[in-house]
């Protein structure tokens, strides 16, 4: 009797697993298809098959034409790419510093106006970011950080307000027992020393998480970057420069080139992300629970 029940259960489990696998495989196909299509389109030859839309996925003949075009010097692709990498790296470092400072101060220190500050920032965060675009533009322009100076300008804007994104990091600091701080203070360590020598080393996952998200964001910024850099091809980032290839009629048949450029953008970011995935998960999950 027992045995029979057991075997019927195992049959059921096997069926259940089979269904699960089927679903997962289907999901995987849906998730991967756009990337597959993107990759295939990027290999379609501009010369022999046309760079626009075509009703099939796999190119008739594989070629590296589109990639060659990107590096041919006919456009500033390398420059755009360099701009983006530069912005991403600098923002990643500075933003992490800002976030860590704010999070530590709000988590560990008790000072007058702390609650008020946190509430004020929360309210500020409810204003849509695009609202202030025109104002930011003219502010940056006062410092000469638009058009030709758009790259440092963008860095400044990304970093300046990044302190408001302290939640996840503060949440993490809150979980580090305060007793550690107190013990160190009794031993005569200053707050600054505790922060640098104790808390930061203990917070490696969250530091990496913050740096990673800060690094990835500038790759996608089309909106603000195009607003600040307009009319100056050399200071575009990849997103600004390449969306033109899809959206404006000046660029007929650039779709395959867009795909090739997109692939080159996606590869390093994806690899980096995959390597640091563990920390990302930790950050996201922690952030979610904290809200």
């Amino acid at each position: 009797m027992n045995e029979k029940k057991y075997s019927s259960m195992s049959v059921r489990r096997a069926i259940g697993n089979a269904v699960t696998y089927a679903v997962l495989i289907l999901v995987s196909i849906i998730w991967l298809f756009p990337f597959f299509g993107l990759l295939m389109t990027s290999f379609r030859s501009y010369e022999s098959e046309y760079g626009g839309m075509i009703g099939y996925v796999i190119p008739k003949r594989f070629s590296l034409d589109n990639y060659r075009f990107l590096f041919s010097g006919e456009n500033n692709y390398l420059r755009w790419y360099g701009n983006t990498v530069l912005i991403a790296l600098v923002v990643s470092v500075l933003q992490t510093l800002m976030v860590l400072c704010v999070a530590y101060a709000l988590s560990r220190m008790r000072f007058r106006g702390r609650k008020l500050l946190m509430r004020f920032w929360l309210i500020l965060g409810m204003f849509p970011g695009f609202l202030t675009m025109i104002c930011m533009y003219f502010l940056l322009k006062q410092f000469g950080l638009t058009q030709a100076g758009a790259v440092p300008g963008l860095i400044l804007v990304y970093v300046a307000s990044s302190g408001m994104g302290y939640y996840v990091c503060k949440g993490y600091f809150d979980t580090i027992p305060k007793a550690l701080d107190e013990a160190a203070r009794i031993d005569g360590a200053t707050r600054a020393r505790i922060f640098v020598q104790m808390i930061i080393p203990l917070s490696k996952p969250i530091v990496i998480y913050t740096a990673l998200t800060a690094f990835m964001a500038p790759w996608c910024d089309y909106i603000f970057a195009s607003y600040v850099a307009f009319g100056n091809d050399k200071s575009y980032n990849v997103a600004v420069a390449m969306t033109r290839w899809v959206w404006t009629n000046d660029y007929q048949g650039y779709f395959t080139r867009f795909c090739a450029g997109g692939i080159l953008v996606a590869i390093p970011v994806t690899i980096l992300f995959m390597c640091l995935q563990r920390y990302y998960v930790e950050g996201v999950t922690g952030g979610a629970v904290k809200g």
Binding site: G163, F195, W219, G262, A266
Partner: protein
């Protein structure tokens, strides 16, 4: 953020408190002057005078220098803007022969006018600080104690005053690049700054509540009807985008976590690709995929499944559905990651005892997994919801708010969210005044929803709830 009644009471008392603190401040300024020695009294005019004479050079000179700086700022820069603030400029741009001579720039007057007001406020605060420091020093000296040395003060910036060191730059950055622009744009909502009144060639000026009246006017040229339609879609979108993704993400996470399923890491990695690849690449490709002559339509036509192309992006209802569906593609992976982490936290024995009681998988999901998840992720769902209210990328990269319609004002489209509408008004129509109004409305909507929902969350009402 306690209950509302509680909150108002608190606010009232806070207000009364601020008022009494203010009057106490004024009084203290008076008594300090009356009781102060001549050094203190001169400091009322020349900041830092007292500290310098008392040997606190660094502090004294810093105060003195900031006064000089302030005066220089007002004379050379701030004064001209603040004086024109009430009118936002009166001198028109004119032509002298063929040369253009620009008049007042309303934009800069508004911007730097606000900045100057803030600088003045900061100066008043500094001046108050100057008075207080004088009083402190005087009191210490009278009591026969030594003054605090600069060294000690500087050292304290690394210790008990470390928060000031840490927060100085972030607060300044946020002030210049968030607070100032927001104040500016709120002001713009009360001006007629649009394509017909554009600096530097044209002046704009204050118009009071006219723009808000326009937003709520339901006549043919008013924004009222359109605003309502866009608002409803924005809310509907945020609702679907949040909850569909949430439940599907949870489902996928549970599938992957299921006992006996292998290659867990592989499945996760595949899904997570959507987070890793920059959205402008993936979403623009997908947009093209579903275009009238894109891949999907081509194949469906080729296989004879349809006779005419499916208007994925041009049919309003279909476009909305497509956006929500594609957002699933974007959103599930996040939820899957989060859910995966949290599911492991559910104590195994809860399930064991449930299965001894004869509960099947479905019942266990309803009675254990779901309540736990909802409880733990309540605040997250709220932030997710408000984030989706402002989810620019997905909408803009896929449809740019299209399809448009003759029924909508202000060039709004059927799939426009308030934010994309706001963006288009800024960039395409240079209708800054209405963009500012819409921005304020977005804020109001977000704030109201956050407040109401936050107070309803079980995890807020009952900290110990799920144990």
């Amino acid at each position: 953020m306690a209950g509302t009644a509680d909150g108002t009471a608190k606010k009232k008392s806070a207000f009364a408190g601020a008022l009494s603190a203010f009057s106490a401040d004024i009084k203290e300024i008076g008594t300090t002057f009356a009781e102060g020695d001549w050094k203190t009294r001169v400091s009322y005019l020349i900041m830092g005078f007292g500290p310098i004479l008392r040997g606190l050079y660094a502090k004294g000179w810093a105060l003195f220098l900031s006064e000089i700086l302030f005066i220089w700022y007002m004379i050379s820069f701030g004064g001209q803007y603040i004086s024109k603030f009430a009118t936002l400029g009166t001198i028109e741009t004119q032509k002298i022969r063929r040369k253009t001579v620009y008049g007042d720039n309303s934009f800069l007057i508004l911007l730097f006018g606000i900045l100057t007001i803030v600088v003045i406020a900061a100066f008043i605060y500094l001046w108050r600080l100057n008075v207080r420091e004088n009083k402190k020093e005087q009191d210490r000296l009278r009591a026969g104690k030594a003054l605090e040395t600069n060294q000690k003060f500087l050292f304290s910036l690394l210790d008990e005053n470390f928060d000031k060191t840490l927060l100085a730059i972030p607060v300044l950055g946020i002030f210049i690049f968030t607070v100032l622009p927001i104040i500016f744009m709120i002001c713009v909502a009360f001006t007629n700054y649009d394509d017909k009144h554009q600096a530097p060639t044209h002046l704009f000026t204050w118009v009071g509540l006219e723009n808000f009246r326009n937003l709520f006017s339901f006549g043919t040229s008013g924004f009222g009807k359109t605003f309502l339609m866009v608002l409803i879609w924005t809310l509907a979108w945020a609702f679907f985008a949040t909850f569909i993704d949430y439940f599907l993400g949870l489902a996928v996470a549970m599938l992957i976590n299921k006992k006996g399923i292998r290659f867990k890491k592989l499945w996760r990695t595949i899904l997570v690709l959507t987070i890793a690849v920059p959205q402008f690449v993936s979403l623009l490709y997908i947009m093209r995929m579903f275009a009238a002559d894109g891949l999907v339509n081509s194949y469906l036509l080729k296989w004879g499944l349809i006779r005419t192309a499916i208007p994925f992006w041009t049919d309003p209802a279909l476009a909305k559905i497509m956006i929500i569906l594609i957002n699933i593609w974007v959103g599930i992976p996040y939820l899957m990651l989060i859910a995966t982490g949290l599911l492991m936290n559910i104590p195994e024995d809860l399930y064991e005892s449930a299965s001894i009681d004869g509960a099947n998988g479905w019942q266990m999901f309803w009675s254990i997994t779901l309540p736990y998840m909802l409880f733990v992720t309540g605040p997250f769902l709220l932030t997710q919801f408000t984030a989706n209210l402002n989810n620019f990328n997905v909408i803009y990269l896929l449809t740019q708010g299209k399809p448009l319609s003759t029924n909508l004002a202000g060039n709004a489209g059927h799939t426009d969210l308030l934010v994309t509408w706001l963006y288009k008004m800024t960039v395409n129509d240079t209708n800054y005044k209405m963009a500012a109004v819409i921005g304020i409305m977005v804020f109001v909507v977000t704030a109201v929803i956050s407040l109401v929902v936050y107070n309803m969350l079980p995890s807020v009402r009952d900290e110990e709830g799920f144990q």
